[in-house]
C-alpha cells in the first residue's frame, strides 16, 4: 500500500523517473563498459602468457638473443626439462605478425592447448594456427592456417621447424621454456628470465587501464550526480506524501523500507539496462582500444568482445552501490524527518546554505590533500589520487564560486529585469549545483585531456620530423640480405645506416640496446633533452651510451650518472633522448662497440640517406630485386606513426564526448524537474507584464550564462588537470614528460559545445513555457503549490 503510494509519484513524473533511470543506467553503462574493455585486454594478455609459458614459467635465454639448437638436446639429455621456442616478426604483404614456433611434444600444457583442435601431422608439415581476427587480415596466408582463439591476435603459431624456415633461423632457437625445475647451477652462457611476455604486457599496459578506469569512475560519478539530484527532488516533492502517510499511521520503518525497496528496484532495472548498454558501448569501443594497445604496446588484444558473468555481477553491484550512494541521503533525511515537518522551501534553502559552507570546507580540505599529494606523492596511483582530489575540490567549489560571481553581477545590474535575472539565477543555484558540478567536471576533463593530447601531438610531430630524417628504411629478409643490401647501396647513396639491437634488461626494466653509426644524420637531427658537452664525439669514442627518456625517468639516470649495459658493465650516460610511443627502455652505443659487445647480431633495418629517393628505390626494386613491402619511405613512416598516435587518443576523445553528454543529460534532468518549481517563480513576472517569450528567452539565457561561467571556472581546472597529466601521469605511465601548450581555439570550440549542450538541456523546458500559453502559470495563481 505504502509502496503503491510512493510509486504513484513516478507515474505522475515520468520524466523524472526517466532521468533517474537514465542517470543510473548511463553511470553503470560507462563504468561497466570500461571494465569490460579492461577485462578483455587483460584476458588477452593472459592468453599470450599461457601460450609462451605456463603460468609465468621461466625461460632460459642467451645474452645474444638466440642460441644454437643443439643446446636443447644437450639440456634435455642432462635431464633439464626445456622446450625450444623460435620467435620473430614476419611481414606478410601489408601485415606484420609475430611468428611463434613451438615444439608441441615438449611444450607446456598451455601451449599445447592452443593446438586443441588441430592435426599434429599437418602442424609438423608446416600448417599453423592464428586468431580468427588475424586470419581475416590475410588475403594470401603464408602457410595453411586454422583459426584458434587460444592464439593471441597478431601471432601465428607454427611448428618450430616452420618458424625457423620462415625466419631464416635454421639451427637456431630464440629461447628455451623451462617446464621443470630450473637447473642449479645454470647452464653455461644461459640466463634465467623470469618475466613472461604476458606479465610484461600487464605491467606496461597497467597505466593505460588505470587511465580507462579513471575515466570510467569519472563518468560514473557524473552519472551519480543525475541520480542524486533526481532522488533528491523526488524526495522534496514527496515530502507532503510522507507526512500524510506518517499521519495515517504508517510506521517510519515501513516507510523507509518501502523507499529503500523502491531504490533497489530502480537500481536493478537501471543496472540491467546499464549492463546491456555498457556491453554495446564496450563492443563499439573495443576495436579502437585494441588498436591502441597493439600500436602502443604491441599487446595482442582481439577486437571482438566476450561476455563474462563476473563482469555482469560487478556491474550490477556498482549500480546498487551507486543507487545507495545517491539515494542514501534521502533515506537518512526521511529517517530524521519529524512527523509534521512543514514543507517549507526556506528550510531547504537554509539547509543548502549550511551545505554550501560544508561544501567549501570540503573543497578546501580536498584541495589541501591535492597539494600534499603533489608535494609528497609519487607513483601513478598518487597521480590519479591527486587528480581525483583536485577535481573533486574544484567541483565542490563550483557552486560557491558561481554564487559569488552571480552576486557580483546582480550588484552591477541596473534594470529591474536584469536584477531579477541575476538574483533569481543565484537563488536557483543550489538546485542546479549538482548538475553544474557535473558539467564543470566534464568540461575540465575535456580541457585537461584535450590540452594534454594537443600538447603531445604538437611535440610528437616535431619529434617525428627530427627522428625520421632518413629518406626511407628497408627491412631485410635476413642477416645475409642485410649484408648484401649494404654492399649494394653503399656506392649508390649518401649513407646506409644499419639498425641492430639486442634485447636487454636495463636498470631492471625490459628494453633493448641499439647500435648507432657515427653519422651526420644523427649528429644533426637526433633530439636530445639532456646531454654532456661533445656528446656525439664522446659517443663515437665509446665513452658511454645514450639512453631514452623512459629509462632516464624510471631509473633516475641523467648525464653524469652511469647505466649498466649487458656485457659492458657500468658506462656513463652521455645523453637522454625523447622516445615517444615506446613502452620499453633503450640505450644506444656506437656501432663498432656494439658489434664487439654483441657479435653476430643481425641487422634488423637499414636507414637510407639519399638525394634521389626515387632512383634509389627503383634500383632496389629492379636491380637488387627487393620486394616493395620491404621498403618504407619517410612519409609512410610518419603516416603510420601519426595513425598510431591518433588511434591512441581516439578512445579518450570518445569518452570525453560521452562524459560531456552525461553532464548535459544531468542538466536536462535537473532543468526538467525544476521546471515545475520554476513556474511559481516566473508567474509573478508574467503577471507584471513580461511576455512568455521574454521569460522563455531569459530561461535560455540563464542556462547559457551558467554554462559560460562554468566554462570559465573549468578552464583553470582543466589546465591544472593537463599539467598533472603531462607532468605526473604521463611520466609515470609512459615515461616521458611533455611541455604544456595552450590551444585557445580548442577552448572556444569546447565553449561552443558546452553552450550547445546547455541550450539542448534548457530548450525543452523553455519551449514548453513559451508554448504553454500561460495555462500552467495561471494555475500557479489558483492553487496552493
Amino acid at each position: 500500500m505504502t509502496l503503491t503510494a510512493l510509486l504513484s509519484h513516478w507515474l505522475r513524473n515520468k520524466v523524472q523517473l526517466a532521468m533517474l533511470l537514465a542517470g543510473l543506467t548511463l553511470a553503470t553503462a560507462l563504468w561497466s563498459g570500461v571494465q569490460a574493455l579492461n577485462a578483455q585486454a587483460r584476458g588477452a594478455y593472459a592468453t599470450a602468457a599461457a601460450l609462451v609459458s605456463e603460468d609465468g614459467a621461466s625461460r632460459l635465454v642467451a645474452p645474444s638473443g638466440q642460441m644454437d639448437q643443439a643446446r636443447f638436446a644437450e639440456l634435455r639429455a642432462q635431464g633439464v626439462l626445456v622446450s625450444p621456442v623460435v620467435e620473430g616478426r614476419l611481414a606478410v604483404a601489408e601485415t606484420r605478425v609475430t611468428l611463434l614456433g613451438i615444439e608441441p611434444l615438449t611444450a607446456p600444457q598451455g601451449t599445447a592447448a592452443a593446438l586443441a583442435d588441430g592435426d599434429l601431422q599437418a602442424f609438423f608439415a608446416g600448417a599453423g594456427f592464428a586468431h580468427p581476427e588475424t586470419l581475416a587480415e590475410f588475403s594470401a596466408p603464408p602457410m595453411p592456417l586454422s583459426p584458434s582463439n587460444a592464439v593471441p591476435v597478431g601471432t601465428l603459431l607454427v611448428d618450430i621447424g616452420t618458424a625457423q624456415r620462415f625466419l631464416g633461423m635454421e639451427g637456431q632457437i630464440s629461447h628455451l621454456l623451462l617446464t621443470g625445475p630450473a637447473p642449479d647451477p645454470l647452464p653455461d652462457g644461459l640466463q634465467l628470465a623470469q618475466a613472461s611476455e604476458g606479465a610484461e604486457l600487464e605491467g606496461l599496459t597497467d597505466s593505460f587501464h588505470l587511465n580507462l578506469t579513471a575515466f570510467g569512475a569519472l563518468a560514473f560519478a557524473v552519472g551519480l550526480f543525475i541520480v542524486h539530484s533526481a532522488v533528491g527532488l523526488a524526495f522534496e516533492q514527496r515530502r507532503g506524501l510522507f507526512r500524510t502517510l506518517r499521519s495515517l499511521g504508517v510506521p517510519l520503518r515501513s516507510l523507509t523500507l518501502a523507499l529503500a525497496f523502491e531504490l533497489v528496484l530502480m537500481a536493478f532495472v537501471a543496472g540491467l539496462a546499464g549492463l546491456a548498454l555498457g556491453y554495446v558501448l564496450a563492443a563499439a569501443l573495443l576495436p579502437d582500444v585494441a588498436a591502441t594497445l597493439r600500436g602502443l604496446y604491441g599487446a595482442p588484444v582481439p577486437g571482438s568482445l566476450q561476455f563474462s558473468p563476473v563482469w555482469a555481477l560487478a556491474g550490477l553491484a556498482m549500480a546498487f552501490a551507486g543507487a545507495v550512494l545517491a539515494g542514501g541521503q534521502a533515506l537518512w533525511r526521511l529517517w530524521h524527518m519529524p512527523v509534521l515537518a512543514p514543507a517549507q522551501p526556506r528550510a531547504w534553502a537554509m539547509a543548502t546554505g549550511r551545505a554550501m559552507r560544508w561544501q567549501v570546507a570540503g573543497a578546501l580540505a580536498l584541495g589541501g590533500v591535492a597539494v600534499a599529494l603533489a608535494w609528497f606523492g609519487s607513483g601513478l596511483f598518487a597521480g590519479f589520487a591527486l587528480l581525483a582530489a583536485a577535481l573533486l575540490s574544484a567541483a565542490l567549489l563550483t557552486p560557491p564560486v558561481l554564487a559569488l560571481g552571480l552576486r557580483g553581477a546582480a550588484r552591477l545590474a541596473q534594470a529591474p529585469v536584469a536584477q531579477w535575472f541575476w538574483a533569481d539565477s543565484r537563488q536557483n543555484l543550489p538546485r542546479l549545483s549538482l548538475a553544474l558540478m557535473a558539467l564543470m567536471l566534464a568540461l575540465a576533463a575535456n580541457i585537461g585531456v584535450g590540452t594534454m593530447v594537443a600538447s603531445f601531438r604538437a611535440t610528437f610531430i616535431g619529434w617525428l620530423d627530427q627522428r625520421l630524417v632518413a629518406e626511407f628504411t628497408i627491412t631485410p629478409r635476413d642477416a645475409a640480405q642485410a649484408v648484401a643490401l649494404e654492399a649494394f647501396l653503399a656506392p649508390r647513396v649518401n649513407a646506409v645506416l644499419p639498425l641492430r639491437r639486442v634485447d636487454a634488461t636495463l636498470a631492471g626494466f625490459p628494453g633493448a640496446v641499439f647500435a648507432m653509426r657515427d653519422h651526420a644524420t644523427f649528429r644533426d637531427n637526433w633530439p636530445l633533452i639532456a646531454d654532456v658537452p661533445d656528446v656525439w664525439d664522446r659517443l663515437a669514442a665509446e665513452d658511454g651510451a645514450l639512453i631514452n627518456e623512459q629509462l632516464a625517468r624510471r631509473a633516475n639516470l641523467w648525464p653524469g650518472d652511469s647505466v649498466l649495459l649487458p656485457g659492458a658493465g657500468s658506462v656513463p650516460v652521455l645523453g637522454v633522448y625523447p622516445d615517444y610511443g615506446n613502452p620499453l627502455t633503450q640505450a644506444i652505443v656506437t656501432e663498432g662497440w656494439f658489434d664487439r659487445l654483441y657479435p653476430g647480431t643481425p641487422t634488423r633495418q637499414l636507414a637510407i640517406r639519399t638525394d634521389d629517393p626515387s632512383a634509389t628505390r627503383a634500383a632496389l626494386l629492379d636491380e637488387f630485386g627487393l620486394s616493395a613491402q620491404a621498403i618504407t619511405d619517410q612519409a609512410q613512416a610518419k603516416a603510420i606513426s601519426m595513425a598510431i598516435f591518433e588511434r591512441t587518443f581516439l578512445i579518450t576523445g570518445a569518452l570525453n564526448v560521452l562524459t560531456l553528454s552525461v553532464a548535459a543529460l544531468a542538466l536536462f534532468a535537473t532543468l526538467v524537474t525544476l521546471s515545475g518549481l520554476r513556474l511559481v517563480q516566473l508567474a509573478p513576472l508574467w503577471a507584471m507584464g513580461l511576455t512568455l517569450r521574454q521569460l522563455a528567452g531569459l530561461e535560455l539565457a540563464r542556462a547559457l550564462v551558467l554554462a559560460g561561467l562554468t566554462m570559465v571556472l573549468a578552464l583553470p581546472v582543466g589546465l591544472m588537470l593537463a599539467q598533472v597529466l603531462l607532468a605526473v601521469i604521463n611520466v609515470q605511465a609512459f615515461g616521458w614528460r611533455l611541455p604544456l601548450q595552450v590551444f585557445p581555439a580548442d577552448w572556444a570550440q569546447l565553449a561552443l559545445w558546452a553552450g550547445l549542450a546547455m541550450i539542448a538541456a534548457a530548450a525543452w523546458p523553455a519551449w514548453r513555457l513559451w508554448r504553454g500559453g500561460g495555462g500552467p502559470l495561471l494555475r500557479v495563481f489558483a492553487y496552493e503549490r
Binding site: Q78, G79, E103, Q121, F124
Partner: protein, 349 residues
C-alpha cells in the same frame, strides 16, 4: 586434436584405426609390413626401424630388496612414425615416447617423456646400442663381439622417483612366432617380435623414502610393425613369467570380437616353442578398483596341453600407469602348478 590424444590414437587405439583415422587405417601409406621368413639381423635390428609405423624397447624387471621385499620396474621407449622414413632436423616424422614405472608393494610411480627424432632428443641406435629420450637411456655395456643387448645400463627419473640398473643376459635372444614373425590376429596382422628374457639385474631404486639396493630378473621385448592389431581388437592382457625352474613363459590374449591368444614357451637354454592361438586360456579371478576402473588384477592362465595352471597375484594391484596413454603394468607372483615371478600388462580397461 590434442597432441597427446593423437599419440594415444596412434599408438594404442585399434578402434580409431578401424574408423579410418587420418588415413592411418591401412598400410597403403607406404609403411613397410612384416614379412614371413625374413631373418632378423643384429646388431642392425636392435636399432630403430623408421619405415615401420610403431616400435618399442620394453624392459620389465621383477626385483627384490635385501629384506626380500618385492619391487618391479619398467623402462619403455616407444617410437611412432608419421611417415615411413627418417629425416634430419625438425622435419623428422618420428615421434618418441618414454615410459618409466616403479612398483613397490604399497606404491606405484610412473613418468613419461615425449620427443621428436631428428634433433638428438630421442632415438635408438643399433651400434653402439643406445635407446634414449632426454636423460632416460638404455645403453649397451656388452663387450665387443657379444650381442649388444647382452649387457645393459638402464636409467630413468620421474618427478618423485628414479632408478639405475645394470643388466646381464644369462641366455640367448628368443624369437617369437616364426623366427620373430609374430601373428597378432586370426586375420593375419603381424609384427616382428623378439626378446631377451634372461637378464639378471642389480641396481638402485630412488624412492621418496630413500635409495634401495635391489636385485632380480629382467625381460626385454623388442617389437615393431605397421599395423599390429586387427581393427576390432580393444586391448590385451600380456604376461612374461620366469618360473623358479628356469623356464620362461610369454603369453597374451587380444580381446576383440573373438579372443586371440599366443605365447612362447622358453626352456632355460633358450629354446623357444610358439604356442598357437587357443593353446593358452586366460581367466580373470578377481578385480580391483584402479584409477576409477574395474581391472582384473588376478588371473588364472591354463595351458591344458601341458596340464599347466598358473595363478597370478599382483605385488601391488594399484600399478596403474596414469599417463597420457594409461594402462596397468606391474610385477606379479605366480603360483599353481608352477611358481615364479613375472610382469603383467593390461590395456584397454
Amino acid at each position: 586434436m590434442n597432441v597427446k590424444v593423437f599419440l594415444v590414437l596412434l599408438l594404442w587405439a585399434p578402434t580409431a584405426l578401424a574408423q579410418g583415422f587420418a588415413g592411418l587405417g591401412t598400410d597403403a601409406t607406404g609403411f613397410a609390413v612384416p614379412e614371413r621368413g625374413r631373418a632378423l639381423q643384429f646388431p642392425r635390428d636392435h636399432g630403430a626401424h623408421p619405415a615401420y609405423r610403431i616400435e618399442w624397447w620394453y624392459l620389465t624387471m621383477t626385483l627384490q630388496g635385501a629384506d626380500g621385499r618385492d619391487y618391479g620396474a619398467q623402462w619403455t621407449l616407444f617410437r611412432s612414425a608419421l611417415a615411413p622414413e627418417e629425416r634430419t632436423g625438425w622435419d623428422s616424422p618420428q615421434v618418441w615416447m618414454g615410459h618409466a614405472g616403479l612398483t613397490t608393494p604399497d606404491a606405484h610411480f610412473a613418468a613419461e617423456r615425449f620427443g621428436r627424432g631428428g634433433v638428438g632428443q630421442a632415438g635408438a641406435e643399433a651400434a653402439p646400442f643406445r635407446a634414449y629420450i632426454d636423460d632416460w637411456h638404455m645403453t649397451s655395456t656388452a663387450s665387443t663381439g657379444a650381442d649388444a643387448l647382452s649387457a645393459l645400463k638402464v636409467e630413468a627419473t620421474g618427478p618423485d622417483f628414479g632408478y639405475s640398473f645394470e643388466l646381464t643376459a644369462e641366455g640367448p635372444l628368443v624369437f617369437h612366432g616364426e623366427n620373430g614373425y609374430s601373428i597378432k590376429s586370426a586375420a593375419g596382422q603381424a609384427s616382428y617380435y623378439y626378446s631377451q628374457p634372461f637378464y639378471t639385474v642389480t641396481g638402485t631404486l630412488d624412492l621418496p623414502t630413500g635409495p634401495v639396493e635391489v636385485t632380480g630378473q629382467g625381460w626385454l621385448d623388442r617389437e615393431w610393425s605397421s599395423q599390429p592389431l586387427a581393427s576390432d581388437q580393444q586391448g590385451w592382457d600380456w604376461v612374461s613369467i620366469t618360473l623358479d625352474d628356469g623356464h620362461r613363459l610369454m603369453g597374451f590374449q587380444l580381446r576383440g570380437a573373438d579372443i586371440f591368444t599366443a605365447g612362447t614357451w622358453i626352456t632355460p637354454d633358450g629354446t623357444a616353442t610358439a604356442l598357437p592361438d587357443g593353446a593358452l586360456r586366460f581367466t580373470p579371478l578377481g578385480t580391483a578398483q584402479v584409477a576409477g576402473r574395474t581391472v582384473p588384477v588376478r588371473w588364472q592362465i591354463d595351458w591344458p596341453a601341458r596340464d599347466m595352471r598358473l595363478v597370478t597375484e599382483p605385488v601391488n594391484p594399484q600399478a596403474w600407469m596414469d599417463l597420457t596413454v594409461s594402462y596397468w603394468e606391474g610385477p606379479i607372483r605366480v603360483s599353481g602348478t608352477h611358481t615364479g615371478r613375472g610382469y603383467l600388462e593390461m590395456t584397454g580397461y
